[in-house]
Symmetry: D2
Subunit: 410 residues, 4 copies
């Protein structure tokens, strides 16, 4: 067991208290014993007992490249919600959706919405963009050089794409967009990334291209990230697409279902929706929606997605439009960043949950995106109904006491 840290600078000029580094096992892959050893090390230093943390059933060898300094696993309870009928281009049929959460009433609320949408004939989903981007900043001497670079990029797209794509089997550079900003140029590298969320791949491809561009076009340097790409951040720019899949899910809910299952009406929901839009406008909310983050977090944890991406994925617009006494409900998600290969998707509970949805492995990312979008629509419908009928507090209270026989809006 080694406790060195190669970042240790050579000569600390002043005396500092010694710090004890987390043990690393240099030069070999982690074993279960290593994990246990490190867990005991932490227990010894903190007094905590990590019994449940240590009960990880996934072999540590299956997590190679996914975690450093492992000590076990967090367990997040999974509830199953469904049936959910999805009528997408990739997902078609009935699904039961795994939701990992400890927030009481969440699963019941989504389940209620799924039931209603399924009885209404299911949720139609369409994906209209499937792109990802990295947006480096290139530095120049002045505004004129920045403008010349933008022209140069346009003229040299083919060569730039070749440099980028040489680093990857799956990624394809779709286009480049330049945004001069003083003497700098923000450059969107927009890729198709297949079934992976693709951040690492894009970063490698963009770096390769950028180094060549710097050398060829005489830039003073570049930052691989400008902040404009919208990765794991909320921003209106996400609505233009280009950071994940842009999904649009909708369903027509007939009046009898609104009344019978949700105790509300098209008109009530439509007006509530307008009030919420005004509330969001006063806050400057990115998008206008009800509880997208809840369903996203629960599905992303269950399905091994990069959970931090819910910050961008939660940018969405939920709409309730009355059609006579019926209601057309929809949710538009401009930045749905999901993957079915790479990251945490290949092993353990994540793989099992993807299997459960028929979404494990290559060729399944669009299907997963459609199921996520349909699930979120269910949550939006259920929550809005619970608010307009005034049932939300009661439902939470009931579930908080675990009375599974209680209707459960949220």
């Amino acid at each position: 067991m080694s406790s060195t840290n190669e970042d240790d600078p050579p000569s600390p000029p002043t005396a500092v208290a010694p710090v004890e580094l987390v043990p690393r096992f240099v030069g070999r892959a982690e074993t279960e014993d290593d994990v246990a050893s490190r867990r005991r090390w932490v227990e010894a230093r903190t007094g905590a007992r990590l019994t449940h943390v240590g009960a990880m059933s996934t072999p540590i060898a299956d997590l190679s490249g996914n975690i450093e300094n492992p000590i076990g696993a967090a367990q997040v309870p999974i509830g199953i919600a469904g049936p959910l009928r999805v009528e997408g281009e990739h997902a078609r049929g009935i699904f039961y959706v795994p939701l990992a959460t400890t927030e009481g009433a969440l699963v019941r609320s989504y389940e209620r919405g799924m039931y209603v949408l399924t009885r209404a004939g299911g949720v139609t989903v369409r994906l209209d963009r499937d792109q990802n981007r990295v947006s480096p900043t290139f530095l120049f001497a002045d505004v004129a050089a920045a403008a010349e670079f933008a022209s140069w990029v346009e003229a040299n797209f083919t060569e730039i794409a070749a440099r980028a794509e040489a680093t990857t089997r799956h990624g394809r550079l779709l286009r480049i967009e330049c945004h001069p900003l003083g003497a700098h140029v923000l450059v969107d590298f927009v890729y198709s990334t297949g079934d992976a969320s693709g951040m690492n791949m894009m970063v490698n491809a963009t770096e390769a291209a950028a180094k060549w561009m710097v050398a060829s076009a005489g830039a003073l340097g570049f930052d691989i990230f400008s902040g404009a790409e919208g990765e794991k951040r909320a921003a209106p720019r996400l609505f233009a697409g280009g950071k994940g899949k842009r999904a649009n899910a909708g369903a027509l809910v007939p009046a009898w279902l609104l009344r019978g299952a949700l105790r509300t009406s098209a008109s009530e929901l439509e007006r509530f929706s307008a009030r919420v839009a005004a509330g969001h406008a006063t806050a400057g909310t990115v998008g206008t929606q009800g509880q997208l983050a809840n369903g996203l977090a629960a599905m992303f944890i269950a399905c091994g997605q990069d959970v931090a991406n819910i910050v961008n994925a939660a940018a969405g617009i939920t709409r309730f439009v009355a059609r006579g006494d019926d209601l057309y409900v929809s949710v538009t998600l401009p930045s749905l960043t999901v993957g079915t290969v790479g990251g945490g998707t290949g092993s353990g509970t994540a793989r099992e949950c993807l299997d459960l949805l028929g979404c494990a492995g290559a060729g399944k990312a669009k299907k997963l995106a459609e199921i996520v979008a349909a699930t979120l629509l269910a949550g939006e419908l259920s929550m809005a109904s619970a608010i307009v009928t005034g049932e939300l507090p009661a439902a939470h209270e009931a579930l908080g006491r675990n009375r599974p026989d209680t209707p459960a809006p949220r």
Copy 2:
């Protein structure tokens, strides 16, 4: 085993395909057998094998009120990062922080930042607001009635607070702010919620007060949520505080550490920071920061927080200010919504991870908030350094191959 759904409306007017509901066990608490039975039911209908999902070690009885339709648990690998010296008002000393993630290089990157900050003397953290809010909308006939209501609320604060606080032992109504919006009034109910994130408590208290207000002031009705509260949504309004703890964490990093451990300089980081702020301005990003969502997601999953709250908690501002050759780094988090009682914090791996930080149970929420803020600062410093030195792609690549002996910026 029952498969009824009480939301089933009485008379579906048209023939619909029968849908198979997820089994519920009515009238009693879930048992391990129930969970296994439901899991098998799902396996039978989807063909998936849920072995790891079924390996949940937390007794289902400990999750009462936290999950419906349980089938097991998601496992998310935990890496331990540290040492992290925190100099807060509630957290003081060295901490080792559990991060649940499957994103390779994340733990290593945060660890690197923690090491540097600790060598620099630690992270000073201060919390300056600790409030939470629910913001219902009250409906009136016209603009004049809305204005009168706003005056009435001001005059009747004491009575309103009494009605709200009668429903809760821990919550206290600090103030009310009215925002007329046409014939409606958005009303911020701002609470102190102690160690719980407190949403359920606030909803109950606000509902009780609101019902009395409607009756007493002649409102036409109210929605318990207006959308303006910022719960699980990103919005500039969060910077005014009032949705969780507002935390401010900073450290002075000396030049020798910047150079020795991070291979960069104060000047380089300061200028990079300005470039990123410009990039965020073009996107309309809420806040301006590097990777707050990564650390938030990893800590929230490990510590049983409501993970969907990372959408609001990720609104933050990271700053790098050169002081001669040294660098003052800081991160300001206006909406840090954490709790140490209630929700998923009381059992299983969450409880263990809170124990590990000395943050389990009552009286510990502020301490947890300070540790989270210090952790996020470590991630910001590490990531920015990796970008300005151009090491980010290489580091990801190295970790993706699980070579733990590799320096690991990200």
Copy 3:
């Protein structure tokens, strides 16, 4: 005539082309001859003939302190729109509103909305906040010192207010709010500024207080503006009030007027309004409205307001809520910055237009704000109706050809 410039630095190190400065007349007030002389100077250097510019009728002596290097005046045509019935707390009765614009159809469009609202019984307006702020940044050594300062400010409000108010007869410091941001603290100084927009007064008062605060609390310095105040900028923060008057204007428009005068219906306008809110959400628009900027610009130019303030004043929320077949229309303006003393309000055409509205001089700013809000509501109603009926392009075309007998939505 002098052409020196006191900013001229003593020793330009390199030879630069000589630049010809605009003539100034040092040591005395401008005369009509000075203005004419400078105008001829410009004409000589540019070849332009400035006949109309020279036709300024306002004596230059009346513009003392309002303009430097004067050469005359821009003329912007004023159309008169009305009748507009306003039922405010300060403005009551029928008004005819001067709108300065060269955009064809604008006056006609607002007039149409005014007519309908007046026939509907008038526009009710209420102001619920009337505050202004300057938000300096104070600099400290670290996060801890910043937190201490925030506490110190709270404890020393009385003394701070005394320092600020000693500089002004009309301004009153209502409250201070501290926002720590790393080692800095943004401080909102919130004032009541009476009938002036008050920026100069607030800047002087805040500077006086800030200098004392720096000396007393040991700050490293301060910037008089942090950018957070929202002056002449669009930002969601404006919705919290504190940058001018917050106005709320509404009217119930009966079905017969919607149909007879606007050829539309409550239901059509309500749904259009929801669609626009979704459109704005995709763009990240500050507020959600139709054409507030048009009416604001036209009134601000006519009435001598600081026209740049339309950027903050245009943050607003327009709502159309059906009540059966009638429609409740409203507009909420959180940042209406108007004044009736100071700035350009005291002389020439501005004074005349304020007279026309009964709003000239002290004690009239709230009345002016109410008339502005009612005017904007008229524009919103008219424009939305023109869009839903498809008449907008035709109306513009008709007015563009100056056929005053044509119905004129816009």
Copy 4:
């Protein structure tokens, strides 16, 4: 003289107070007598004396199509600021810029910045996009039909463009972008509009195309405006371009000028700039800048631009980047909407001011945009310098007392 209103609905069901309409002169162009007659009518009803308003020197016949119900003109004092050296692609040389304002110190402040930038060698300006858009919403039955429409639009671009361009001599449809949103599709029609701001032209062209699209693709209808176009509204979306000219202006200011003329340094301004960016981030400001709205309003009023467009044009990013002891200053304006033909540009003072800049008439819009951008940069530099040196309040005070011999930052 006629006082009828064709919007008068046929049968008001209840008795309402009679309202007196503003006189119109039906069936003929306005004459000076008509204007005077209407002005007297207003004077009689309000008691105001409109002497200066009546002193309009522009013949009313020259304003045909620009104003309805005219009663005269507002006069806004014009100060001349310069010299300003511009090194654009369309504007090259020394300019003296007319600024219409009543805000004391504004002209002096911009003049100071211009002087410094000119001494520094001038302002380089580049325009990288010159596009305009109208963004109608098309309505469909469901999400699937919306998706089909988006595909249909892509396949039928040529025909759509032909329909649109048939209505205009100058406009060209560059591209169309579809954004499905539930059952609706927001469609950006992006045009080149030549030297006009082009809103009327684009509306006509888009309407013609949209009617054909509705008929051909089976839409349920369309709104000509969705709100997403960003016309006269502030929104982050503007940074992507497409609403006017995107301009980028910069200059390198040497240390001796910073010190000698502005009494500050590159380092001070750079750090101030970072503080302001953080302040704006807390407010959610669109862009990050100092006082763009001031210069925009002053130039737009003087030059007959559509003043309401300053709301979108003020979205910008100002940057101060130290280069050793020198400073690279820049301002990026993504939505600069200016025109030199149409609207109010052809007559009176507007035409004269455009002449003064060499920007009157066809082929001059880009030149005007470059001069505006350079002017705004001057204001940004001057204001920032006045803040960091603490001279801002004193300068305002001095100008407020009209002491033209005083240095005048603002």
